[in-house]
Symmetry: C2
């Protein structure tokens, strides 16, 4: 057909696009840049040492009017951007929870960018939906999760951006089940009440605010000495709320809290949820990955009662951000509450009900082909490869725990069932905060803190993909030496 | 420190990770794969011809126990995944709105994956926050948006995943301003009312449901013959709701509706919003990009009154999904309603109030370094490169419009101010639907439909990065020939 509609006006058929050959050349430079970064990442100060405003000020006030050579941009990356990077991929990164990448997941994500499909509907790229369904079915088996989460039954899984969004979706599905919200078409009436432990992640507080439930209607249940939810306290609260005319509708349990990796007793909490008709959501954002190893599955005992479940491959499972996996045992309520079907999205497959349209499973409409990075990851490592590295991290954390226990200047602040150790100097909060700041400002390691039993506590999480014995050993030596001049009380 | 803590137990220091050298090799294969895809994308059937379940069935039931060679995975990509792809990057893609990628944005996103930072807080990678702030300040200038959106004042911009999420955030900020929701800590009381046109995107309906406002409290305002909101109808509705004891709190106007690219009159709507104290949100998800060209800025006249604004570089601005830009004129309400600050996220920079922590600007907590792809895009094209291609798309759509007008078998169903043409055969809905299905099943082009004035209408949107005159001409020839045997009424 070319030539039938020639450009007869005086407009140059000019293109500013990067041609495939230019793409080959520039991509080679970027790949080499990343490979070198991988080789050298441990040499950078882990925590960026920059002051607020420095990076912003390093760039011109006005946008570029004309295109610039790619090499210049890569130079600016090194000179202006990298000083403002905190190196999450450094083996000396122990802060928060990890956010790992890996070769196969980076390349899977690159393929996703290159193919560039937008999978809001099954029809807009069937493979984007169906590979996701397949890979998430695999993960149910790999993690020993309940078969109710498989796509073959009433449930199913979907990739979300973060556990915060997934937890919001769990709350919305629970609200739907409790109130027939979407079909009633009315707003919340202020009577719904949600429950979680006072050590749970702030995402539920955020979700409760977003969904119009109101922070006042979120109950934070007391914890035991291991910072795990007390089921009997939960049940007392639920019963008191019922007596007061409230409608308890959701409880969230955590496998591995952010503060201390505490393990809520899923069995007991699930039993209470069932008895009182509450939606049972399980947040395993970081620790869920541990279930890849059968010997660590005791951490999620009772998960078979869950109505919904979230874990983040982008934390501990070497999948680059973002990739949060969300399962429901019954997808009906989720779809019911999130579905909208304007004329311009109607199509045969959707109308026939023969397919999943994942845009009805989360907040955004559009969606990227994120299953590719999970798929490449699983094919590259295999189950055994992932198990190996997870076991290794747990072992290293357990060794670190023994080192801390053996040094009388320190105290361990919480049980360490997996890969997080919470500890502090026996001393004031100020001394501990000062220690943490010295460690982080050294650039040699980066760790973060929490408060446990009211005390400033250091958190060291072994979960970065490249972290090995030598790194954890060096971290401990540094912590010891930075605490060296302290007089022991 | 290496050597101090040798691995003394009988565990192999084995690694399943992809080494930097393996990464170089595999990345080269992926880059070559993508470059070839770019060269050949126009040869694939645009709309995937596969049946539901085919892709799912092509993969094994159980996950891989052992890792597999990378080449095998790429072979499976070709054989099992690609038949299930609908090619959004084909120059023959005219459906929905575009979702473009481009060389520089793909490589920016690759760098983001490789650097692998998680920018939830300023402190967790200052550059991730500050480059985003800088690039979004540039875009305010590039698009002629109000200076209230600049970070230097009370407002600012943030990258979100999609316009659906951004619109939800606008609604939450509006709710906050109307009710002091976060500080009151209570749920919604069912009195808040939101407004948009009956041609607006379904995202506001979704947001209203999510936020607990209730679908019953969303008013769909009548439109004029160009499918643009009637401001006088809006004002009548607001006044009637006030009289009935309701609290009107938000109006969303659209620059370029999804159905027909209708342009709501921002000036008049903004005036009503100000007069009645409503939050004024502007959805320019696709058409916002047109404002790169000064001669097209008339489409957003009145935007200076907006409290918030969203446009998607991942649609028409050659930035691979996901990248939706959200601006607020006053960031206080947004942060107020979305902020949570648990102990484990506290840090000096945040406590001093010296920085933006973007996790308080959207639903997710974690966030990827998405500014990199926008930055590489702007540096590569420059303002003039982007303008060139946007102008070209508008010209091509306008030419197509003239061809349709000149053929008496067809009727144009809506004004075509930019790059979308809505048209139909003069005939029944069934004939038009059958025509669309013939066209899409041919694999030669892909377009989608809507209903305008109750009639099944074809939508042809010229916006894919590579679409040139020859493609649009071929599309029109195909449409003509597939309509060729019709007797003209």
């Amino acid at each position: 057909m070319t030539g039938l509609y020639p450009d007869t006006r005086n407009i140059m058929n000019k293109s500013f696009h990067m041609s495939p050959d230019e793409f080959r050349k520039n991509a080679e430079a970027v790949v080499e840049w990343i490979a070198r970064y991988q080789e050298n990442v441990s040499k950078f100060p882990v925590l960026s040492q920059i002051e607020p405003g420095e990076v912003y000020a390093a760039f011109p006030e006005h946008p570029p009017q004309r295109g610039e050579p790619f090499e210049q941009v890569l130079r600016d990356l090194d000179e202006k951007v990298m000083p403002g990077i905190t190196h999450w991929q450094s083996p000396n990164f122990y802060a928060y929870f990890p956010s790992n990448n890996s070769g196969p997941s980076i390349l899977g994500d690159l393929l996703s960018s290159g193919i560039g499909v937008q999978g809001m509907l099954w029809a807009t790229s069937p493979a984007c939906t169906e590979l996701e369904t397949r890979v998430l079915d695999w993960l149910v088996e790999m993690l020993g999760l309940p078969s109710t989460f498989l796509s073959s039954g009433s449930g199913g899984g979907v990739i979300q951006d973060t556990a915060s969004s997934a937890t919001l979706c769990a709350l919305l599905a629970a609200r739907e089940r409790a109130t027939n919200f979407a079909s009633n078409e009315v707003g919340c009436d202020g009577t719904l009440v949600a429950y979680t432990s006072c050590h749970a992640h702030s995402s539920l507080e955020k979700a409760v605010k977003i969904a119009g439930i109101g922070k006042k209607n979120l109950r934070l249940v007391d914890v035991d000495e291991a910072f795990a939810m007390r089921p009997e306290a939960l049940e007392r609260m639920v019963e008191a709320d019922r007596r007061a005319g409230k409608k308890p509708f959701l409880v969230m349990a955590t496998v591995g809290t952010t503060s201390s990796n505490a393990l809520d007793p899923l069995g007991a909490i699930g039993g209470i949820a069932r008895k009182h008709g509450l939606w049972f959501h399980v947040d395993s954002a970081m620790a869920g990955t541990a279930a890849l190893c059968p010997e660590l599955r005791w951490t999620q005992k009772g998960v078979e009662q869950a109505d919904s479940y979230v874990f983040n491959p982008h934390k501990w499972m070497f999948t680059n951000f973002d990739c949060s996996v969300f399962y429901v045992a019954d997808r009906k309520m989720l779809i019911e509450t999130l579905s909208v079907l304007p004329e311009y999205l109607k199509n045969q497959a959707t109308m026939a009900g023969a397919v999943f349209d994942y845009r009805d499973w989360h907040i955004p409409l559009g969606r990227r082909f994120r299953a590719l990075k999970l798929w490449l990851l699983l094919r590259h490592y295999g189950v055994e490869g992932l198990q190996h590295h997870i076991r290794r991290h747990v072992e290293l954390a357990q060794e670190f725990l023994q080192w801390v226990k053996a040094d009388e200047r320190f105290e361990v602040m919480a049980p360490a069932p997996l890969n997080l150790v919470c500890f502090r100097l026996k001393g004031s909060d100020e001394e501990n905060q000062a220690l943490m700041e010295r460690l982080n400002q050294s650039g040699k390691i980066y760790l973060s803190h929490t408060k446990l039993n009211g005390k400033f506590t250091l958190r060291l999480c072994v979960g970065q993909a490249q972290t090995e014995r030598e790194h954890v050993g060096a971290a401990w030596e540094l912590i010891r030496s930075e605490s060296g001049n302290r007089v022991i009380e």
